[in-house]
């Protein structure tokens, strides 16, 4: 009896130790990646990185300014296509479709779509746009990223709209406000911090995607502002430089990934802060 209980307590302590060990083992790669990134990236990050386009191979200096601008253009394009559709779908799920089979099917499909590899979206955008136009373009890159953003934004918008108390909606409807006006001015406005948070999350996620851009936006060594031409993108440039044999390009790749990670860290932190205070008290 005593031996058995001693054994049980021993197992308890052992498992606790294992759980702590596994947490430490998980945190270690993250800290290692961060520290190494900051160490390698900070030494090569300078003003020229943000203002110059890549120098020819073998020449020192150069930067990734065109890649950052290109990423910005592609992301703006993707957001303008993906965010409205995503928010509208989320509004349907939360306001018009509650309890319906169609809404459940849409929710399920959105969840499944979130797990599809991004390269498949790239192939789809390639087949739709690049093959027709016979050239790479920023537009096709934007379309590929927009397709990726829609399910994410749909789910987070729905989640945020579900936290809006029914009492607010009913009060507006009781005052004679039409349903569409209620949704726009009351539900969306109340949930807007959370919805913006969800959009930021989706934005940060697609900002780091490389695979769909490999054969849609394709990359560009120079400044490019046209939507119908190949355009550089930061993650794409990092990939190309990382697998190249030149040390100068490796340096630029480290600096670029530091910029990318900092941007994503800022988004994730903001998301965390907003999520902590975004939900309404006294939900229905």
């Amino acid at each position: 009896m005593r031996l058995n209980s001693a054994r049980r307590y021993a197992v308890n302590h052992l498992v606790t130790g294992l759980a702590v060990l596994s947490t430490v083992l998980v945190i270690v790669p993250l800290v290692a990646i961060m520290v190494y990134l900051i160490y390698k990236g900070a030494s090569s990050l300078n003003l020229a990185f943000f203002t110059h386009i890549p120098a020819p191979v073998g020449e020192p200096g150069g930067g990734m300014a065109n890649a950052m601008l290109g990423s910005g253009i592609i992301l703006a394009l993707a957001s303008s296509m993906g965010i409205p559709v995503g928010i509208a779908a989320g509004v349907y799920l939360a306001e018009y479709g509650r309890g319906r089979m169609l809404a459940m099917a849409v929710r399920f499909t959105a969840d499944v779509l979130n797990g599809i590899p991004s390269i498949v979206m790239g192939i789809a955008a390639y087949s739709l746009i690049v093959m027709r136009q016979m050239h790479f373009s920023a537009l096709s890159g934007g379309v590929a990223l927009a397709i990726m953003m829609v399910p994410t934004i749909t789910r987070t918008t729905e989640e945020m709209l579900m936290t809006v108390p029914h009492a607010i909606r009913e009060a507006a409807l009781g005052l004679g406000v039409p349903k569409w006006r209620t949704v726009m001015s009351v539900s969306l406005r109340t949930a807007s911090p959370g919805i913006i948070t969800g959009c930021m999350l989706a934005f940060a996620r697609v900002a780091g995607e490389t695979a769909p851009l490999l054969f849609t936006a394709f990359g560009n060594q120079f400044w490019s502002f046209k939507l119908n031409e190949p355009i550089a993108a930061l993650p794409l440039q990092i990939y190309v430089y990382a697998i190249s044999p030149y040390d100068e390009w490796h340096r630029l790749a480290w600096a670029g990934s530091l910029v990318l990670i900092l941007m994503i860290m800022v988004s994730v932190t903001l998301v965390r802060i907003y999520a902590a205070r975004g939900t309404l008290k006294g939900a229905s």
Binding site: K40, V120, W180
Partner: protein, 363 residues
């Protein structure tokens, strides 16, 4: 608060701040306001409010239009899936017609002679994914158990934030780190160690370049860890506290409470979380492309270079000469799409079964 009715006039009490009253309650005032000579009647020229309200309509058309637009956008999710499926099937027609189902069991990939077979890629994908799962699942479960049951409250937020950050790092940054840090470690330290102690198993033969299936599995394990652990944590939190308390009341130690009260109830969901991690590992492109060696070969050794479905698309798509080559690559994309849809659907169904359709984590 009680309502005081003042009986000095025939009209019902009104709020002191309003200037205009409902027409039928204050007929004499309406008469004096509008100027008509009707005595105390409900008919007569309507008040300005009533005129305004009846002119506006009830917004029926706007409501219907708005609802229709929202419905169309929601249906766009289905449209996206159908569109991707159709366009992939359309563009891989050539390869489907040429090779049929033998494409997936044929093991030579020779673009020069037009001989395409996807077996090496299927092997590479499955081997790296399952190896990554084997490495990641115990660690992820440990983290989830620690964060949900054992962690002091002060540490919970920072550690879960760190795990979320781990999930948000882009794949290409993982690949960059793997190429410059993991590959040298693999080549110089870890590889010889494994060969010395585990070489008898026969899985560590061949020359160790640093890049290969094992390195790819390790980086994949690091990448799918946060997903599995965060969804497992959500599932463990969905188990009602009454279950935990019941087991504790019977005199269980903490681990026994976790094992019988929480994990047993959450089994289905945890399986779902693991399958979700598998789905992510199957489709991971960039980090794997950078460290797997990119050689379409099936080999027993874990040090040998391999090739995955996603890597071959990433590497050879822009260099594909000829329609058959491109079509074969798109067929590989189709295979990847169908496999990940099926895996993700099963996983999501399992997770939903436990969390009852609550909005699951997006990552």
């Amino acid at each position: 608060m009680s309502l005081e009715l003042e009986p000095e006039s025939s009209s019902p009490p009104t709020a002191p701040s309003t200037q205009m009253d409902a027409p039928q309650l204050r007929a004499p005032a309406i008469v004096s306001f509008v100027g008509a000579a009707e005595p105390a009647a409900v008919e007569g020229p309507p008040s300005p409010i009533r005129q305004y309200l009846s002119k506006r309509g009830n917004g029926g058309l706007a409501d219907k239009t708005f609802a229709a637009v929202m419905l169309v956008c929601a249906l766009s999710i289905f449209a996206i899936v159908l569109f991707i499926l159709t366009i992939l099937i359309l563009r891989s027609r050539l390869s489907l017609a040429q090779f049929g189902f033998g494409f997936f069991v044929h093991s030579s990939w020779d673009p020069v002679s037009g001989d395409f077979g996807a077996l090496p890629f299927i092997f590479g994908t499955l081997a790296t994914s399952f190896l990554a799962l084997a490495m990641a699942v115990p660690l992820a479960l440990g983290v989830a158990i620690f964060l949900s049951e054992l962690c002091p409250a002060r540490l919970r937020a920072p550690i879960s934030f760190l795990t979320e950050l781990l999930a948000a790092i882009p794949s290409v940054v993982y690949g960059l780190w793997a190429v410059f840090v993991l590959v040298p470690i693999m080549r110089d330290q870890l590889g010889p160690l494994l060969l010395k102690y585990l070489g008898w198993t026969g899985f560590f033969g061949g020359y160790n370049f640093g890049v290969g299936m094992l390195t790819a599995s390790i980086i994949l394990a690091i990448m799918i860890l946060p997903i599995i652990s965060s969804i497992t944590r959500d599932i463990m939190l969905a188990v009602p506290t009454s279950q935990r308390e019941a087991v504790l009341a019977l005199g269980a130690t903490r681990w026994e409470m976790i094992r019988t009260g929480v994990l047993r109830n959450a089994r289905i969901g945890i399986v779902g979380a693991v399958i979700l991690g598998l789905g992510r590992a199957l489709g991971e492109t960039m980090a794997v492309t950078m460290v797997i060696g990119n050689h379409p070969d099936i080999s027993k050794s874990l040090f040998a270079p391999g090739y995955t479905l996603a890597s071959v698309i990433a590497n050879e798509f822009t260099e594909a000469t000829g329609d058959l080559y491109l079509s074969a690559l798109i067929e590989i994309g189709l295979a990847l799409f169908i496999v990940t849809i099926v895996v993700n659907a099963i996983a999501r169904a399992l997770v939903w079964a436990v969390t009852r359709g609550a909005p699951a984590r997006v990552i």
